[in-house]
Symmetry: C2
Subunit: 160 residues, 2 copies
DNA sequence: CAAAAATAGTACCTCTGCGGTACTATATAC
DNA sequence: GTATATAGTACCGCAGAGGTACTATTTTTG
């Protein structure tokens, strides 16, 4: 339902937790599992994915662990999300992969769906990890055009 | 992967197809299946869901069919999407249902995830069915703040 | 050098829910 | 009354998410 996968959610929790301690501090999987109250095997799995996407660096052996490769202010939610669940695309049609859809050549809204994906992706690129790490301060967010937009009661909601 | 379900995609195709013919024209399931090149059983299933959500009105018997309840300019993508797959929420935590998440009381980013969902939902509420029905004319879209934003090459994409 | 502690990588299993199909009931036009 | 359409329900198969287990590798420490 336009829903992030659970593992992605966990990834956001882990990245946020690490971001709070600063880029240079090292976190091992066990401690992160304790802090986040998530099961250890799941935590290690997600950390491996974040590592392979380059969002984390690892250090093995005793006193080893993970740390952020970039400052929390330089990591967007879009990066974290796509690190775990691949490219952000609201429909298969909006990826560049061909042959996935029978309607390939006749789909009437293909181009528009790319637009939709762009809008969502753009919104997620505007929110940084540092924004999530400081929940109390997030009362506004940069809109698609980069300007600040209040997050509460924003605009004409016709739906729900 | 932050992906619309196929059925939702079909819903958008069907609604767009109907929107092109205007609000008052009646479409039966068989013709819509032909037009969209989608399997008839699937088309009828989606139409039923759109009907129950109030986006369509139906007329039974010979010469029966479906038609839009509102003008295409008054139907947002958010409405169509939530009609088929329920409330737009990027994580279970951002719905109002409680008891879904073990972290309920300790989740460090719960409030922020609501914000993320709001941003995405807001973006989808800004795009109307009439925008999708006229693909060639959609070169800009209203941003989160309501201002027009070009859809091509817009802004600093750090990801992908 | 050996043991302990951490990550790296792979493989596997379970189970939800999406996607698709079939069937029956009901309403309407002629 | 018959043909044609929608209304509603129930069912099935399967991909993929979520979770687990096991082994290999690296590094610190005594």
């Amino acid at each position: 339902m336009i829903r992030l996968a659970k593992l992605t959610d966990y990834g956001l929790v882990l990245m946020t937790t690490m971001a709070r301690k600063g880029r240079t501090s090292v976190h091992n999987a066990r401690d992160l599992a304790m802090l986040t109250r998530l099961p250890l095997p799941t935590v290690t799995k997600v950390l491996k994915q974040l590592l392979q996407s380059g969002l984390l660096v690892s250090h093995r052996g005793i006193n080893g662990g993970y740390s952020l490769t970039k400052e929390p202010t330089d990591v967007s939610l879009a990066e974290v999300i796509s690190a775990i669940e691949g490219p952000i695309a609201l429909t298969e049609c909006s990826t560049d992969v061909i042959g996935l859809c029978d309607l390939e050549h006749s789909c009437p809204i293909k181009t528009n769906q790319r637009v939709i994906s762009e809008i969502v992706r753009g919104a997620l690129q505007k929110v940084m990890l540092s924004d999530l790490a400081q929940p109390a301060q997030l009362t506004a967010i940069r809109g698609v055009d980069g300007k600040l937009v209040p997050t509460a009661g924003h605009s004409s909601g016709r739906v729900q």
